[in-house]
Amino acid sequence: MTDALLALDNVAVRIRSAEILRDVSLTVRRGAAVGLVGETGSGKSMTCRLLTGTLAVVGGQLSRGTFQYRGEDAGRWSERQWRRYRGRRIALVPQSSQSALDPLMPVGAQVEETLREYRAPNIARRTRELLHAVQLDATAALLDLYPHQLSGGMRQRVMIALALAGDPELIIADEATTALDVTVQKSILELLEQLRQQRGMALLAVSHDLSVIEQLTTDVAIMYSGSIVESGPTGLILADPGHPYTRALIRSRPHMAEHRARLESIPGSPPSPEDRPSGCAFRTRCPSVFDKCSSAVPALTGIDTHAHFASCFLHDVVDASLDEVNRI
């Protein structure tokens, strides 16, 4: 664990009385590519806020567990301490949208301004280098364009350039390609992957889209209603999910090859933090629910030998029956 960049351990986050994050454990090692998957309202955005020190903006606070960054207790960092890390070590590529850039400032000026904040030398040259790194043609004409004059893909490349400006060791991509066309999305994903490898950065890809996660990450954590319900190697989890929720997510993916008449969807919607059911939060939508699910919250436990964890009582049952089989 010495090369862990960030480690969340049983973290809970509250906004007033609502426990938005209930039990989040997540590790990102130096240079690793980790995915965080979940539906809208699962707590992905709150996790991003926690990791960029911006919980206070929405009135949230860390109420349980620890958040360590390079072994330091980042959960207790002051705003002052955070300012040394934001952008310089931990950078965020926000959701792709028109409004992620100031509409009244040319994009070149926004990159330059960010570099100036980091006290980078040779700002003009660095600006061109950054835009070049995200495969934008850094001509004077481009620098003078305003955000509304760029295409969605170009804007997102600028956002990535801004994230690279502080030469960070961790990039958090929060639904970074969601609003883009499929073809543009593909090129942005390739760019992110290429930049990560070139620069040895770690990447935390946050998305509801399993194909994005599959393309970018080697490890993944599945989030449901404020808790990590499954984590492990991406390939293994997509092939052999250990939690009924993950299984349902995978079944609801659109597939090119198979011509299914309808996409399967998960019945119901995720519970809000105020009215989570007792026990397992997924039990009201779970096809495999049984009596034990309502009495206790299942813990994240190893389900095979490949650092694959899931929080589901089904595995206890299987283990118990295996134990029984062994005893006989």
Partner: protein
């Protein structure tokens, strides 16, 4: 974003439509000011000269104003006069042109209004931003209540309070008057500007506060914050420009109110502006001067609005 939509709505039409509209309204103003004298019951010349005038005086004025010509020909003469900058001669001061009478006082009023706009923009934006950024509830609350109180107070009352407190008690400004030449005029100007700003600055402060609150919730502000941009850079380079933009429209829409307020403030402070000229002309039944003041202030309102719309389009890159 609701804020964004309402902004675009204000300037949503193509520029030529706005220009045509402004010209049409300007023509309407000219037409109404021309027709006003004919709407008065009885003979206009008699009405202008009053009951003491002799029949020969009335007949003479009748002829001077071409009142016997057909209405269309009168209108033609009038419009051609306006086009040549000739608004006739004063009745109260025979031989003195209306343009020269109104012109000098217009400069005083324009100085007052322009200085008020500049001062209100700076102070209003600063106060509005302060209210929006304040962490405590009370500063914001205090600023908002003060703005409403100032807006609800008539200009003459603010003027009297200003004179009592700043001129009479503190003695840091003259209670009224005008030096007639610069830079001495400035010492007479600043208190009236402050008083007239009591109307415009709260409007600007409220608009900036509201827009700054909206802007602070915009994604680009949080994105910039997450990049580690300092609070001062965030506020001055991003929040302020985005929040100050709608004030252009606000100022344009309030030019009429400002000129109306200036008339009152000039009366309170005895400034030789358009307001004073208007009051004097009304008292002496100097109809051409009243007409000229109506035309000129009307034009300022119409073209001030147009100018604000054009300025908005030049400044907002999304509309360029």
């Amino acid at each position: 974003m609701p804020g964004r939509n309402s902004e675009l709505k204000q300037s949503g039409q193509p520029l030529w439509v706005l220009v045509v509209q402004a010209v049409a309204v300007a023509f309407g103003v000219l037409l109404i000011t021309f027709l006003l004298i004919h709407l008065v019951p009885g003979d206009p010349a008699r009405q202008l000269l009053g009951p003491q005038a002799t029949e020969s005086q009335v007949a003479e004025l009748h002829q001077r104003m071409h009142l016997d010509d057909p209405l269309v020909s009168q209108l033609g003469k009038y419009l051609s006069g306006v086009a040549h900058g000739d608004l006739g001669q004063s009745l109260a001061y025979p031989g003195v042109s209306v343009v020269s009478l109104v012109g000098s006082s217009l400069l005083v009023t324009l100085t007052l209004v322009a200085a008020t706009i500049v001062f209100s923009l700076i102070s209003g934006a600063a106060i509005g931003l302060l209210a929006a950024m304040s962490r405590g509830r009370w500063l914001d609350y205090g600023i908002r209540v003060s703005a409403v109180v100032l807006l609800a107070t008539p200009a003459f009352f603010v003027g009297l309070v200003g004179i009592l407190v700043l001129a009479v008690q503190a003695q840091i400004a003259p209670a009224g008057g005008w030096a007639g030449h610069y830079p001495e005029n400035f010492s007479y100007l600043w208190l009236p500007v402050l008083v007239l700003s009591a109307y415009l600055a709260p409007l600007i402060a409220r608009a900036v506060r509201q827009k700054a609150r909206d802007t602070l919730r915009e994604q680009f502000i949080e994105a910039a914050m997450t990049r580690g941009l300092s609070r001062s850079r965030l506020v001055l380079r991003h929040v302020l420009p985005n929040s100050a933009l709608p004030t252009i429209t606000l100022v344009g829409l309030n030019i009429g109110g400002l000129i109306g307020g200036a008339v009152v403030v000039e009366a309170v402070f005895g400034l030789p502006g358009v307001g004073t000229t208007l009051v004097n002309a009304t008292n002496s039944r100097d109809y051409p001067v009243v007409q000229a003041v109506a035309i000129i202030t009307g034009m300022f309102v119409v073209f001030g609005n147009l100018l604000a719309d054009i300025a908005y389009r030049l400044i907002d890159p999304r509309l360029r």
